[in-house]
Symmetry: C2
Subunit: 587 residues, 2 copies
């Protein structure tokens, strides 16, 4: 029905007839002529209707915004004075010769040119997706998946599908459950990831696997979470952590080169401990120049318990965050707001110190806690933070985890507030995670229970689990974890040890993961893998503020689809067949 | 860890050192040497261990089937007498120099060389997938999806993901339901297809969409059905049925060329009516030379009600199926069996006629119904079926739908029993389906309620729905429907008419499809699409007997996964959070 897309028209086509199919983006009547901007997925082009062609002009006069039309005309160059440089096709226009109105549009329920609530945008998503930036986001996403697939195909990875209706997976989030009709009272779970299946595929000898696959977590949602999200899921056999990082880094570097013409360079590596120490985060945003500085050692003897308590506690931490040159800019009121802010992360307060005049010694320092800090400690702090006149220093003192979280968050917030974040791409690998973290008196896996430790035997792991490092790696880009993975445990003893440490007893392990433990007995290859969050990666690449901007039909933050009105009330007969009943009246 | 894959070794590598990773496929001890066939996903190669290398030989002596090993050695040419032509690498072998046992294997629970029950195969699927033909099937499937994606990407189709957690879809099969935690008492449905979403994407202007996507139907299973299956889902705007057929035919033709070196040629088209008349099926297997011949017109006057009843009924049919040269081969007992067979499809009997001697007239014909058939009718039947001596003719007389189904099935069965099915690829398009079929006094959509009729207005459609043809098309290959699609309704009036004819009242239409009816108001483009069943297509291409042979982790016929033991009992707390309870005790 068309000879060209709107966005393809350019001066080389001048004087040629073209037929376009698309939508009326905008209509203007000017000097007795009718102008429309006609739109399809490739872009816009201006069309002109001349009143000399009466029948055509009358049809054109019926056009309204978002009518779907088919149009034939001749491409002509615009006069120099009318060239529109903000439009890709702005050097040309189409002189219309034929027009067919394919379907009319009622006045739109959402205005493309005004800010519309996200609720309305999602309710009329099919219209919202006509907006050029949303169309671009999804076209960009399609190009990303295509490029990823080509890279992986070309590198010997096999796209193998794993089940969606499966057994509860052990990632730790809440599962979506699906009642079985044939197995009364039993339920499938939708996968939180294909983790175990991809490991089984390695045991089957497929050597290199990938899948771009939907995963599901029934969690309360945030801006960058959705109940269903998409993973680029990768697993390899006979490859070391370094090799997996090398090939996936190559993939991401190629993607940025191809899609954005950006050279990410070689990704630096940072240990988890260094990341926590310098940035209070396992996904540091390296575009932000602020860093935490540890000062516990110089505060152990002070009489101020807020400092000396954590400074003397092996699990405590005291860290300083210097913000250069912002002593004046950060008022008492701003400090109070930051104090409230770190409170969200569990910090009980926020000590601070403004450096007015270094040459003046103690007199030149303004701080409510100054009186508690002896000269030697003050000098050490000022030296260690390389403080200068006009700087402000914040202090966090608490359990190490609280300090990292609160001061890491403060670092990001201050960086944002004062526009300190540079406009660049800063990828890195975070490595050497601890295997386990302690909470509520028991140990949890930082990655998942199938992650291999670095260089220990099963016996050694059991003897001192908290000291063990895992052979895991996260790819972090501009403060966002875009991917993470690990070398997996490939023998039964080690897997049993990991379960034991996590408090998963023999019976429970057998019941939940018996098939995995069994599979480990039959010549399991060493294997390692990684998964990328596709939504987040694309969100970063297009510069969107939420993953909902790169998903065609996302759910709201209450996990609903306002377009189709899902979830909905189920047919009682269907529920009876599934052997379940609703336990709330007010549905 | 490896320098080569096993399957890559060939004479050009002779005298070169290689390092391989893989499994012990087989071990043989012969003439004081140890031979193993070493396997990875690319194939097998023979490795030789010489007792002169004592330490190496001792390690080799520990090898058992399916040990996972890393091996270094030198490639050498086999002597002419020992070249194994049934092995791709049979011209070479590897003289081992180093061997590392990576992981041991206990004796296998399934024997690769013996017939094993499918239950056992599925329980140990990770081992079953090591068998070369299963490994081949899944590698072949990965190549198919890769080729399909490249074709579609290169032709401007955008891969756009649609939701898995959605509203019940209208395909008619039973939905899998997913209770919502945040919306008490409400349920998502897993999609039977992305039908409505892909139509919405056309309304958004994406122009060409595709997705290789999981779909779900909670139906009782057959050999070629699975609760979750994979569709190659396609939708286009501004393209006619012919254009959609052309581009998808080109895709499939390219796929067969590339994967199997088979030229499918141009696909013939056949109307649904012709397919039903000649083959009693809307997915005729053209490799089978047998055809049905209608004979109702010559039997209207006979006194035998079994024939004259259907012959005079406008909804009846009398059809003959001639099996050339099988009069002797098909005994009375065989005829009884065929009679039982057609009974499965609702036929109340199976009349037959053996042609012993055409020259002898009535005397030369043997048939229990001969006495009811006057000379003129007999002559007409023999002429029309072009009967010859030694032929047998079966007759079906009943409602047209019963005759088509029973005689269509008999045609396939006889074709199989006597090996009449040629060994070739016979694709075709079936077109011009009726819009609706009648059952139990109401009308059902033969495709789905969004299929556009050919050349009628909404008013005309409502006036005579049973006469309307749909603008739908099925791609059939060797008797299997591999794909199907249609032009969609793209205006509100027509969509409302279709719902009305299907007995979907205004209120129900609004409740279920309100968003679609609303979307149709805003400049909907004409659109058309198609979906292929990927599992079936790959099954056909690799010559497997079941789609389970081309799915990594399929469900059993009771919709269970015996490997992971899914579905399983749900945690009561999880169910409480989801506001549902199990209504059966014996779970």
């Amino acid at each position: 029905m068309r000879s060209h897309y709107c966005g393809q028209l350019e001066t080389s086509l001048v004087d040629q007839p073209v037929t376009l199919c698309g939508w009326v983006n905008k209509r203007r009547d000017l000097g007795g002529l009718i102008f429309i901007d006609m739109r399809d997925r490739t872009g816009l082009v201006q069309v002109v209707f001349d009143p000399d062609q009466q029948a055509l002009f009358e049809t054109a006069n019926k056009l309204r915004q978002e009518f779907c039309i088919r149009l034939t005309g001749t491409v002509r160059a615009r006069p120099d004075s009318q060239i529109n440089k903000s439009m890709a096709t702005g050097a040309v226009e189409v002189m219309a010769t034929e027009l067919e109105i394919i379907s009319r549009a009622e006045p739109l329920p959402i205005d493309f040119n005004q800010q519309v609530s996200e609720e309305q945008r999602l309710r009329y998503r099919y219209l919202d997706l006509r907006r050029p930036n949303m169309s671009h986001n999804l076209q960009f996403r399609a190009k990303v998946t295509s490029a990823v697939r080509r890279f992986l195909d070309d590198n010997g990875f096999l796209d193998i599908e794993t089940p969606m209706l499966t057994r509860a997976t052990p990632e730790g989030a809440r599962d979506y459950l699906v009642p079985s009709r044939t197995h009364k009272g039993k339920f499938f779970a939708l996968p939180q990831s294909p983790q175990l299946f991809k490991q089984l595929l390695m045991m089957s000898g497929f050597d290199r696997y990938y899948q771009i696959v939907k995963c599901f977590r029934d969690e309360d949602l945030r801006a960058d979470r959705q109940p269903e999200f998409t993973q680029i899921d990768i697993e390899t056999s006979f490859m070391s952590a370094d090799q997996v990082m090398a090939v996936t880094e190559q993939m991401v570097r190629g993607l940025f080169q191809q899609m954005l013409d950006v050279d990410l360079g070689e990704f630096p590596r940072m240990t988890w401990h260094e990341a926590m120490r310098r940035f209070g985060s396992d996904k540091p945003d390296l575009r932000n120049p602020l860093e935490l500085v540890d000062v516990a050692d110089v505060l152990q003897e002070v009489e101020f318990k807020v400092f000396s308590g954590p400074a003397n506690d092996p699990k405590g931490r005291v860290a300083a965050l210097k913000v250069p040159g912002k002593a004046d800019a950060i008022s008492r009121k701003a400090i109070d707001e930051y104090t409230n802010f770190v409170g969200i992360y569990g910090a009980k307060g926020l000590a601070w110190m403004k450096i007015n005049d270094l040459a003046a010694g103690r007199e030149g320092v303004q701080s409510p806690v100054l009186k508690f800090i002896p000269d030697a400690a003050l000098t050490a702090i000022l030296e260690r933070t390389a403080a200068a006149n006009g700087d402000i220093i914040f202090f966090g003192a608490d359990k190490a985890s609280v300090v990292a979280e609160a001061m890491g968050a403060l670092r990001l917030k201050v960086g944002q507030d004062f526009d300190l974040v540079s406009d660049e791409w800063r990828p890195l690998w975070v490595v050497d995670f601890p295997m386990f973290e302690e909470a509520d008196g028991r140990l949890y896996a930082i990655h998942h229970p199938f992650t291999a430790p670095v260089n220990v035997t099963a016996e050694e792991l059991k003897a001192n689990p908290e000291a063990a490092l895992s052979n895991a790696y996260d790819m972090v880009l501009n403060g966002v974890e875009v991917g993470g993975g690990s070398v997996r445990i490939h023998n039964n003893d080690m897997q049993q040890a990991a379960f034991e440490i996590l408090g998963i007893g023999k019976a429970e392990a057998q019941e939940k993961f018996g098939f995995l433990l069994e599979a480990l007995k039959y010549g399991t290859p060493p294997h390692a893998g990684l998964a990328f969050g596709l939504d987040r990666l694309v969100m970063l690449m297009v510069g969107a503020s939420s993953i909902r901007e790169v998903i065609a039909f996302p759910k709201t933050t209450t996990a609903a689809c306002v377009l189709t009105d899902a979830p909905g009330v189920a047919n009682p007969e269907a529920l009876a067949e599934l052997h379940v009943a609703v336990t709330v009246k007010d549905s």
